[in-house]
Amino acid sequence: MTTPLLSLQGLTKAYPGVVANDAVSFDIQEGEVHALLGENGAGKSTLVKMIYGLVKPDSGTMLWRGTEFAPSEPRQARATGVAMVFQHFSLFDALDVAENVALGMENPPPMRDLAQRIRDVSETYGLPLDPGRTVGDLSAGERQRVEIIRCLLQDPKLLIMDEPTSVLTPQEVEILFQTLRKLKSEGTSILYISHKLEEIRALCDHATILRLGKNVGSCTPATTSARDMAEMMVGSTLQTPTRSAAPDGSTLLKVTNLSAQSGKAFGTALKEISFAVKSGEILGLGGVAGNGQDELLAALSGELLTNADTIQIRGEAVGNLGPSQRRGIGVLAAPEERLGHAAAPNMSLIENALLTGAIRQGLTRNGFVNWRTTKAFAEDIITQFDVRTPGSDRAARALSGGNLQKFVIGREVLQAPDVLVVNQPTWGVDAAAAAAIRQSLMNLAAKGAAIVVISQDLDELMEISDRFGALNEGRLSAIRPTTGLTIEDIGLMMGGAHDMEAPGPVAEEATA
């Protein structure tokens, strides 16, 4: 057996309270595309940061072609031959492509030669890119190409790509894959991080699966079905739901044929979504991020307006009402993005409590704010939801993610909504706090509210929801009761069922 390009042996990295990587070992061979697969928080990012020299492992060693490799900073990793394309790009919008590339090189050639080299590389690897274009005008896929070309001009031996397709259109994904295959054929190894099973089946030679920081197995994606990989990723022991009695209340929220364009660039349009939620019921919606979750929350909360009839509350058409009017009739929402969407980062918790609580809690009168009741409301949230903060006058951004999440969820739950929509309610929250948040949602349902929980945490959805559906490319699968639902069923629902058996459909029309 030949010496692997990079061999990881027992890498461990612990942060206070959480072991991000626990004795992870695997090998990356020369010229292979190696997938690193796992759910959010499985420790994928920490692992590649150790390879790239951004994070130092607590223990364990890395061997680069058989010799010890312990980069102390990215520069050293780059010198060895490791290049990385980050999920969030480090580009200059107002500068053109060639200038951006030049800024990332130590000794760039003159601009004219550089433009020619960029053209050569972009032709060789099928990454169409005009060096004269301004980066700010480029699509996310084209921006990624700028970063990739920056990496390629350094002639890397190992290219790390951290969730490269999360911002790409299907056509752009196909172009990227062709490039990666070409790189592979030239002997470059690629470490490909993703949680999208079909992509991995289409592209990767080997896959290592991480769960809760541990290497839980490896497989050959081409011969392993998506459902098997999902099972390894999620863990075959899904907790049995504790709520079994199906609620028998009246229908509170009814969505009929909801289709809407996304308000964001590169968002996902919603396509003919229909469902209904009864009083006392929790509907869990799963699916890989970016398949319409944000848009569905926006449509239900009133940020994204639709035809009046598509969304009905107790039979009343509300699709054309804005967020404040919907709060007035008891529809509340807690979006995924805590800082900037659910809470204003620089405002105090009291002020943030006012922002969504003003209407239902009666915190204002004739345009004047009643700060005393607002403060009492904020402190009520802090006490009841165990938000760890020195005081209610602290700025929202000063709280840790988990504490702020408890505050944001608590703020909506305590307003006693009739319909509550939450997206990723326990994302980045420690286990105890997550349990508390889930319990509060179940308690709210027990009081008769209709709740829609959008999440990527399948365990969570199985634990708290009565019925389950999955979003895929803006469409909603059939909704089924969670009792008796197997992991295979869920995998099929999440994959949209049609493309789970064969490697993902490749877009033949991929050009431009």
Partner: protein, 306 residues
């Protein structure tokens, strides 16, 4: 009313003189803003340049020593701004306003003994044959050297920003200081140098008013040119040649309206007096409808730990 008293050749020649202080200050500020710093102290640095240049020119009887002193004076004052915003991480808007107020006050103090004095005159370009040509001679070949420096500076700034590594790094720092820092560029150093350059340009522009255009010293004699320069940079979409165009347009309409006033046109003087501002801004707004944006990091405080 007698419009025939207006000589178009002299009009063009004098509009170039009227535009030069504005052009110098605006080009300096353009470089500062391209580096991502908003220095509202242009007016203050100009007036300090005006008095430093005037005083040194009078004392040494050498106008060139005066111009040099003006640039040093403007740069030294801008160093205060650089310290406040780049080292002490103070708010740029407040620091810039303070710089203007401070400069106005300090210049009045420094200039107490210089009121009513005539500075040494600066020689004008006098090329045989060329300067005597009709029309072209007075417009192109009979000005003071600083006016040509202003045009040369515009061209140099344009070329520097467009073609050189230094210009690229400067724009990168102004565009995304975090990414520039991550790539290993010295954000603070680039910005301090840009601020000093802006201060020197503003000082030179101020001295042009007190030594060449007017030429005498009166308190507050820059009369808001620094503020126009700030506005000009924005409306010119941070493009050097548009700054030149805007400065000449402003200077031209200013000279024209003065001529019209002298010719006794039947329009209230106030309308004429406001016309340069309105027309300049109108033209530049129309021109800036293309896609051009401010440097993305403009006015934002950079700290390496972020």
């Amino acid at each position: 009313m007698d419009l025939s008293t207006i000589n178009p050749v002299l009009l063009i020649a004098s509009l170039m003189v009227a535009a030069t202080p504005l052009l110098l200050a605006a080009i300096g500020e353009l470089v500062v803003e391209k580096a991502g710093v908003l220095n509202l102290g242009v007016e203050g640095m100009m007036i300090i340049g005006a008095i430093c240049g005037f005083a040194i020119a009078v004392e040494t009887t050498n106008p060139y020593a005066g111009l040099l002193a003006a640039m040093v004076g403007g740069a030294v004052l801008s160093l205060l701004f650089a310290f406040l915003t780049q080292v002490a991480l103070a708010n740029q808007v407040a620091s810039g306003l303070a710089l203007t107020l401070f400069g106005l006050g300090l210049s009045a103090l420094l200039g107490q003994n210089y009121v009513g004095i005539k500075p040494p005159a600066m020689s004008k370009l006098d090329l045989p044959i060329l300067s005597d040509l009709p029309v072209v001679g007075p417009i192109l070949f009979s000005h003071d050297p600083v006016l040509y420096i202003g045009i040369a500076l515009t061209a140099a700034t344009w070329a520097m920003l467009k073609y050189t590594r230094v210009g690229l790094v400067l724009r990168a720092v102004g565009e995304n200081h975090e990414a520039a820092h991550a790539l290993g560029y010295h954000v603070v150093r680039v910005r301090v140098l840009a601020i000093l350059f802006g201060g020197a340009c503003a000082g030179l522009g101020g001295a042009y008013i007190s030594l060449i255009r007017v030429p005498q010293w009166t308190e507050g004699m820059t009369a808001g040119i620094g503020w126009i320069a700030l506005a000009l940079v924005v409306f010119a979409s941070w493009k050097p040649w548009r700054v030149l165009l805007g400065a000449y347009l402003f200077g031209g309409i200013n000279v024209l309206q003065l001529n019209l006033q002298a010719a006794g046109i039947a329009v209230p003087v106030e309308y004429l007096a406001m016309s340069p501002y309105i027309i300049t801004i109108l033209v530049l707004v129309i021109m800036s409808t293309d896609k051009s944006r401010a440097p993305a990091s403009l006015g934002r405080i950079f700290h390496a730990s972020q």
